[in-house]
């Protein structure tokens, strides 16, 4: 059986989510916009799900809009704030250098369309500084968008503080919380969040469904023209089973969250401590300010994809921010944003855990990974230079 340690890419579905979806597909096939009883049963499933998702992030159900996932929610949030800002002559947006491509590529497009984009430094620890956000805000800033937790290295930003800065300056604050929702407690009011993106498949729900939270009073222009679904802002017959599955998954993830986080954190820390013993290796991002499940490492002298393939062969599914996996010669923009040189950034490995992993699986990885690094280093001309006293 393959050991799955790529939960930041996607997670296995929980029984609760599967059952909710099956029930919906078998018994609740109506169109939620129909006024007959069959349709109204589907409507209740959707509105019940909306109520649950809202409650679990501290929002009101009128503030939650279902989408096709995290990518769509990010695009919608950014376009909404850009459109609203532009009407008032505000065409400046602040974000960070290591956002997900869903946000970064959208921002790059806006830049080509005449917006000015400022990207905050994330420093070597993978954390944004609230005072640097404060000084980046201008009269014409339309939006600040900072990811809650980074998908590659797992660092968790001081979201409440960043939100407070935006609140005090009257700027809309969006956070891509795709990696954080269901892993850490979130309260949009206490944390001063105006808009938030989430995606079901990162918390044991189905793929292709997510949500955008948008605070009442923050303008949210129509994203998809069509019917009256999602309060007229996103037309199209709802994906009822997926929405029900997402709500069930989030309920399950938030139940007993603290205990689950403790267990997962302990497994993560065991990995971090074990791999600290590998010479010329490093943990990427702040040691403590990170998600319970994500640990990212760089092993000097080896290339990430090669490590990944050998792990796969040994029965472990992991991931790498390596360039050669993505088809470009540049290593991951996240690792470069931390200030890592290219040759080190090429040797990255991400292990991302969930509550479904076991301590036995962790021990297995600790057993097989160091010999893999050793084998690859043995045939690596880069390692030969490091070993013979190159840069540390």
């Amino acid at each position: 059986m393959q050991i799955y340690m790529d939960n930041a890419a996607t997670t296995p579905m929980s029984d609760a989510a599967v059952n909710a979806m099956l029930d919906c597909m078998k018994n609740n096939y109506g169109n939620p916009s129909s006024i007959h009883k069959t349709g109204q049963a589907a409507r209740r499933a959707i509105e019940g799900s909306r109520e649950a998702v809202a409650r679990l992030i501290g929002a009101d159900k009128k503030e939650v809009y279902f989408t096709s996932g995290g990518t769509e929610a990010d695009n919608w949030a950014i376009l909404a704030a850009a459109e609203t800002g532009a009407k008032k002559g505000k065409k400046h947006i602040i974000s960070t250098r290591f956002e997900h491509h869903a946000a970064l590529h959208r921002l790059e497009r806006l830049e080509r369309q005449g917006f000015e984009i400022s990207l905050l430094e994330v420093h070597s620890d993978g954390l944004v500084r609230p005072d640097e956000l404060e000084s980046a805000i201008r009269e014409d800033t339309a939006l600040v968008t900072v990811m809650y937790a980074n998908n590659e290295i797992g660092t968790v930003q001081p979201i409440a503080e960043l939100g407070a800065v935006c609140r005090s300056r009257g700027v809309v604050f969006h956070t891509d919380a795709v990696q954080a929702v269901g892993q850490v407690p979130i309260d949009v009011n206490a944390q001063n969040i105006d808009m938030l993106s989430l995606s079901a498949h990162k918390f044991h729900g189905p793929k292709g469904v997510g949500a955008l939270y948008c605070r009442a009073g923050v303008p949210l222009p129509v994203f998809i023209e069509g019917g009256a679904q999602e309060r007229g802002r996103r037309g199209g017959t709802e994906n009822v089973p997926a929405i029900a599955g997402m709500a069930a998954a989030l309920e399950e993830a938030c139940r007993n969250m603290e205990n689950k986080a403790k267990t997962v954190t302990a497994m993560r820390d065991r990995l971090i401590d074990a791999f600290a013993a590998v010479p010329h290796s490093r943990l990427n991002g702040h040691r403590e300010k990170r998600l319970p499940g994500i640990a990212s490492f760089c092993f000097e002298g080896v290339e990430g994809e090669a490590v990944l393939l050998m792990l796969d062969h040994a029965g472990i599914s992991a991931s790498s921010g390596s360039a050669c996996t993505s088809g470009s010669l540049e290593p991951s923009h996240v690792l470069l944003a931390l200030g890592l040189p290219h040759e080190i950034a090429h040797g990255s490995l991400r292990l991302s855990l969930s509550g479904y992993n076991t301590p036995e699986e962790i021990e297995k990885v600790i057993e097989v990974l160091p010999p893999i690094i050793g084998r690859l280093r043995e045939i690596s001309p880069v390692w030969e230079k490091i070993k013979n006293g190159g840069p540390n």
Partner: protein
Amino acid sequence: MYSETVMEHFSSPRNAGKIENADGVGEVGNAQCGDIMRMYLKIDDGVITDAKFNTFGCGAAIATSSMATEMIKGKTVDEALGLTNKAVMEALGGLPSAKMHCSVLAEEAVKAAIEDYLSKKEAV
């Protein structure tokens, strides 16, 4: 993503290692772009009697290094100079298009090692 042949050469690379006092050594690529290949050749009477490699790189880089060394062993220098990345890719049962550049490196590494050999020979 990779063919069985690629995975086989990646998991058990042929000719990984070094040749002491090699007749030709060539290194191509750089750590910046993520793949470095160093090729060592033993050449007797214009025939490649041994070839070994050291590679820092992805699965395709290691597999193409392995295949390229296999393909040039026993060949004359002239024959080896005719080795193309296309031939290496074909022998591997194909590579994903994003991995083309890794096979180009293998061709270049062979050429660099042979050039090193020829320039040393001239100097003698």
